[in-house]
Symmetry: C2
């Protein structure tokens, strides 16, 4: 097998959200009857249940009518839109952002992540990745031929912090890790890093000269009035060694426009733009206009959205926490839950196919987030409330049918 074949073998997307239709399900054998119910696709948020920011399409249409000016922006994005976004993100994160040097608009948050990783990782570089964390993180390191150094997060045995293993983190930094990439709130568990954890990450990174990419995609949707800590605002780590990633695809349901943003280090942003120039030129010109509706939602829109999600979370948690053999930590921010289930007769990747075929429910297998999570799955509960609750009942029934 040649280099490229090996590389793409690690890039499997069969279990990625939305790719279920490409799965081979010929050999799945179901136990018992189908359990009927409305399809719920927990692999990503449902933008029909939680609609895009009001007026976002109007802003897009205005962008189209601006014509060439909006279609052909600088590769890092329209200057005017960057300036407006920088202002909003300064207010939100509490850090300083010069729109000219410290910010790039990207095709989705995934685009920001790809460009950042491609601009920081050279072949052979060690990259510390949290276990569990967003599945693309590991794949990106492998694509750029870096070396993944896993850092455990003991999310079940803490309530006041995410549970990151700082002994492992410092050992990894000592051993020459170049980049630490993590999502906060954590994807898939929905836990937030405590202020002390964030400060300690920054302190260690500063001590060992490590660059940090902080993926804060879901950081606007914080539950129960918890404290959220932006690493970039701590003034502990050299700002030229920090990139923060955000975007309006989740809480704001604007994923269909493919918009994200990265801010921080001018040196890295500059590289990201050069890479963007050969990857896809720029975030869609007209879509960039939609950035105007971000952080400019109608009064109370965000609060209401948070309350609605908190309420769905509570109902799902009540069911999952009492289901026989399940274990789950409550979501602190974002829309993910990552329940652990009892031991089954089938591997989790097959369980996920069964769930889809037998109960009309789609979830993402835990193994996407780290090979040891053979007993967990992720669900995004940004769904129709009633349908989500009914779907969880079906999940629990299917687990009963296949448990050891």
């Amino acid at each position: 097998m040649n280099l490229l074949e090996k590389k793409f073998l690690k890039l499997g997307a069969e279990n990625a959200p939305g790719q279920e239709v490409r799965q081979n399900t010929n050999e799945v054998i179901l136990r018992g009857e189908k359990i009927s119910g409305k399809l719920v696709d927990f692999s990503h948020g449902n933008v029909d249940a939680f609609k895009p920011i009001p007026g976002s399409l109007d802003v897009f249409i205005e962008g189209v009518h601006l014509g060439g000016k909006q279609a052909y922006t600088e590769y890092r994005g329209s200057k005017m839109i960057r300036e407006e976004a920088a202002q909003k993100l300064e207010n939100f994160s509490g850090t300083t952002i010069d729109a000219e040097h410290n910010l790039i608009i990207t095709p989705g948050t995934q685009g920001a992540l790809f460009l950042a990783m491609g601009s920081i990782i050279a072949r052979g570089d060690k990259v510390a990745i949290v276990t569990p964390d967003y599945f693309a993180n590991r794949k990106l390191v492998e694509f750029f031929e870096g070396e993944v150094v896993p850092i455990q997060m003991d999310y079940f045995n803490s309530t006041t912090s995410a549970g990151l293993d700082f002994t492992q983190l410092e050992d990894a930094f000592k051993a020459g890790v170049k980049l630490f990439l993590f999502s906060n709130p954590n994807n898939p568990t929905g836990v937030i890093y405590s202020p002390n954890e964030i400060k300690e990450i920054a302190r260690l990174a500063q001590q060992y000269g490590v660059t940090v990419v902080s993926d804060e995609l879901y950081s606007r949707q914080v539950f129960d009035g918890r404290t959220y800590t932006h690493l970039c605002a701590q003034n502990i780590l050299d700002p030229e060694n920090v990139i923060t990633i955000m975007g309006p695809s989740k809480t704001e349901s604007l994923s269909g426009y493919r918009l994200g943003v990265a801010f921080g280090s001018a040196r890295i942003i500059n590289r990201m733009e050069k890479l963007q120039a050969i990857v896809s030129l720029r975030a869609g010109g007209y879509s960039q206009a939609v950035m105007k509706s971000w952080f400019a939602e109608p009064t109370d829109w965000l609060n209401q959205r948070i309350m609605q999600h908190q309420s769905i979370r509570d109902d799902l948690l009540a069911k999952l926490q009492t289901a026989e053999g399940f274990k789950v930590r409550g979501t602190e921010a974002g829309s993910y839950l990552f329940p652990r289930i009892p031991e089954l007769d089938v591997p989790v990747e097959e369980f996920v196919k069964i769930l889809r075929l037998q109960a009309n429910v789609i979830v993402t297998p835990g193994t996407e987030f780290g090979s040891q999570f053979i007993d967990s799955f992720r669900l995004n509960f940004s769904q129709d409330h009633e349908a989500a609750v009914a779907a969880i009942d079906r999940v629990i029934k299917v687990v009963e049918l296949y448990r050891k």
Copy 2:
């Protein structure tokens, strides 16, 4: 300098279209007065002069109203839209395209190019690139750590073919080239490869087991009733070794939606989708809907667009061909001209800055298309007719001011 610094040094985007605002012009010294006139940006087409396909925004809006189904498609693009596109591209190119396996929708044609290159080139692979050709081609090979093998195209000394040097091409293939990438019509010269040239490329690639990526972005806009030959339809080269790239960003002025398409080899398309999953997930979901307006333009819309461009070409050619010391071959397809100019007192990169500051005209320096083109520049004449003609007069005046 480390590996990554070297890599990004080669990725300069300062002279790329649309990036002029980031140029350092402090040290440019102008000779004589400014030559006033309406700004013409020949670095890319003007979508205000040649507007997007009628109704394209309406199709986008319909896509938004479809909701989640349109926002979250498979990474290779919505099945329905792929099926429709496959049908149209079959008719256009004369090849067979199975929408399920042989086609991917990408964020612009640049996206298709990046994904294709990333799916074919491994570190150290030799890649044959035409000189001159689209500037990103070379940059892509370098980013993926391949080795560029330049193949000369003698576009001035031929009228019945592009002028590709087949001795060089066969020598390169013999020497182990893995991939041959070329644009047809050629960017920046606007010449078309003859049927014999296309057949010979296919024959040699088949003989030596070389994969071919044919960038046919501008292939719908063919002038003077010339014959255009699609390599994929020749049945000479194993279809699993061909990828064809197209998109509606140029002739159709849909660049602001960031849409492209690649079709051909199922193996390569499959890899491209896996790569797309970590690069930016998918072409913008709502934008994908706009593919419906492609190849479905109002009757005679395309013919009229071709005639209008042909007429601009004729007027610019008449001026350029009679200007002292200029040499230029007429565009056969697309909207590019690549004139050679007399020797100047300033390097072409500085000439380009002067032109912008002194005469309000933006062009792309020849050196972007190959280091030897120190005496050429590219212009995209998809512009307001009158303004373009006036701008060419200013270009000729500026050349007069700075010639040796």
